[in-house]
């Protein structure tokens, strides 16, 4: 097991001669602590897979260094990095039994058969596969097969990290639940570094202790699920985490306070200095509430999502989303809203204005 460090890593895929390089990864300095449960979250094409391939050694970055426990491995091939990988689609030898599938990575490395049995049985137990060990893998359901893939990733105890590339995409939501809990439980039991790549915020937030959010080749924030929810550093984090995402509304600054469509907003600390660039306020739908003396809005739509309701509001030409619990009532006339000052953020060119943050 190891701490994994990215030092000034950048990567550009080859371009035709004479063209400027286009970076799929912008400068990344990042430490993955030994034994951590990480999620790498972002939309398709944001550079997640590129980053993962750099860790596993399938790709050598065009600039920068990768260190495992302080030792440089930038040019080390995959086979010498001791990384286990689980992919989106189950990779299973159909003709082998479940036992032989799980034993494969160990036998491949010439492990003593007695130790193989011991280890396979232990992993099978953790994944509730014990009763299936003698069955042929081909007879299993999709989630059963993916469990074997997970098991094969977990079976080697000497790996530096396990990388999961969207491992639950093909699994039904009902089972996703169980496998996600299982993975988390396994992480607590084995304490290996796990990096879980996904575009699904729910998977990322429920699995990880720390989430690395990527957007257009840049790591825009690394934080706990709570930090990402309460203090998005970039408008993309606000938008991408949370459903519906954060309201991002145009604003101006007057006397250190944001002003939205001529309505002054309260924030805990005044903004110092003169901000140059695109100015916006961010407020999560969860922190918008009805108030007698607030900003007048019209209610365009109310969606009943069972345990909560999502309201679509407009003020002038701006759209504001708001979340209410199932038992809250909607004012019948002249609805007005206000934003919770402690959760109102100011963004300048998409990055949070730190002065406005009051922890």
């Amino acid at each position: 097991m190891a701490q994994i460090r990215f030092r000034d890593v950048r990567h550009a895929y080859p371009q035709p001669k004479g063209q400027e390089p286009v970076y799929a990864l912008n400068e990344i300095n990042l430490v993955w602590e030994d034994g951590g449960a990480y999620a790498l979250l972002g939309p398709s094409g944001c550079g997640k897979t590129t980053l993962l391939n750099i860790i596993s050694g399938l790709l050598t970055p065009s600039e920068g260094e990768i260190l495992f426990d302080g030792k440089e491995v930038t040019h080390l091939p995959t086979s010498e990095r001791q990384i286990a990988q689980v992919f989106q689609f189950p990779v299973v030898y159909d003709t082998m039994t479940v036992f032989d599938n799980l034993a494969f990575p160990l036998r491949n490395r010439g492990m003593d058969e007695k130790l193989v049995t011991e280890r396979v049985e232990q992993i099978a137990e953790m994944l509730d596969l014990s009763t299936n060990l003698k069955k042929r893998a081909s007879g299993l359901t999709a989630d059963g097969k993916q469990k074997i893939s997970l098991g094969r990733g977990l079976v080697r105890s000497n790996v530096n990290a396990i990388l999961f590339d969207e491992p639950l995409t093909v699994i039904d939501p009902h089972l996703k639940w169980q496998l996600r809990s299982k993975l988390k439980e396994l992480h607590q039991q084995v304490g290996m570094t796990m990096i879980y790549v996904t575009h699904d915020q729910i998977e990322a937030l429920t699995f990880a202790e720390k989430v690395v959010v990527m957007y257009e080749g840049t790591v825009v924030q690394v934080g706990t699920p709570v930090e990402l929810f309460n203090h998005p550093r970039h408008t993309f984090v606000g938008y991408f985490i949370g459903s519906p995402g954060m309201n991002i509304l145009p604003c101006t600054i007057d006397a250190g306070q944001p002003v939205f469509c001529r309505s002054p907003l309260t924030i805990p600390k005044r903004i110092k200095g003169d901000l140059q660039g695109k100015l916006e306020v961010g407020i999560r739908p969860e922190f918008v509430e009805f108030a007698d003396d607030g900003i007048p809005v019209s209610i365009e739509k109310v969606e009943d999502l069972g345990r909560y309701q999502v309201l679509t509001l407009t003020h002038e030409s701006e759209i504001i989303k708001m979340v209410m619990t199932e038992d809250q009532t909607i004012p019948s006339e002249n609805p007005r809203i206000q934003f919770d000052p402690h959760h109102t953020k100011v963004y300048c060119d998409d990055w949070v204005v730190e002065e406005a943050v009051n922890e």
Binding site: S44, D172, S181, F207, L228, S243
Partner: protein, 352 residues
Amino acid sequence: MSIELRNITFRVGAEPHIYETSLTLEPGGFNILLGTTLSGKTTLMRLMAGLEKPTTGEIWASGKNVTRLPVQQRSVAMVYQSFINYPSFSVYDNIASPLKVAGLNKQEIDEKVHRFADLLKLTPMLHRLPRELSGGQQQRTALARALVKGAELVLLDEPLANLDYKLREELRDELPKLFADTGATVVYATTEPLEALMLGGNTATLKEGRVVQFGKTSAIYRKPATMESAEVFSDPPINSAAISKRGDQAVLGKVASWRVPEQFAALPDGEYKIGLRPHHLLLSGQGVEVNGTVQIAEISGSESIIRIRVNGNVWVSQTQGIHAFEYGEKVRIYFDASHCMYFGTDDQLIDL
């Protein structure tokens, strides 16, 4: 068009895929088939489209028996989970293809392609090839092709499953609006309860080749007719437990007891079941108190999802705020008895 399944069954060889089902879909409605993989969603759609013939029973469309009518003669469009486009055609030609087959003139085709490209935000990409598009754009192209035909019945088989989370959120919002204008009857298959609620309309819950219940989406969520329907329509899974009823008391093992509503109290004493949604099981508050042992706590942004072992069952509490727990920690949980759904041992809802 209206679609009516009259006592249909579908077998492959001796194996039943769809058990006897009757279902009526109103013209212009948005209908959801909600169920896990292999519950029969795709098979039902293929039957509605005419791609399969029912083993027994009849299918009627707008008052006409279409059971034996081949798919080419029906006004149907279908969109699949994996985006299917012609790889060598531009987006424009992909959208235009069904219109060319139908023999429309150039001007009509051009007008329609632009209208639907505009609706699906594809106008800037009309001259690109599918492989030069993102997944979301490819699926929008497939949707545009299905829409442009003006089919009276549109079947969407998990159309958003392969898309990014946020794109799904956007398209879910747009889809019902898109179809509302066309007047088409839409059938939409999904495995996700929240998706069904977001889309609204009517929902049929499916389990193992049977339609368990059909009705207004929010009504089915609030009043599932059976435990199966409640299970299909709950993610995280609904909490259930066996209880015994004695007089006006519900007794949950040695763990808890509470007073039941009057109409239920009037029923005979004996064994029953309860269903309780995860967001109604809380870590603080009032009402019925239950002790349990934490199995795992997951934290997602503003809420926590905690699996708790209670009296031999594993329950899930979905609760606001951040609550960290260690494995094996003892907790006390609470629920308001009025949030309990009661079922008979036959799993039928006791309608109170």
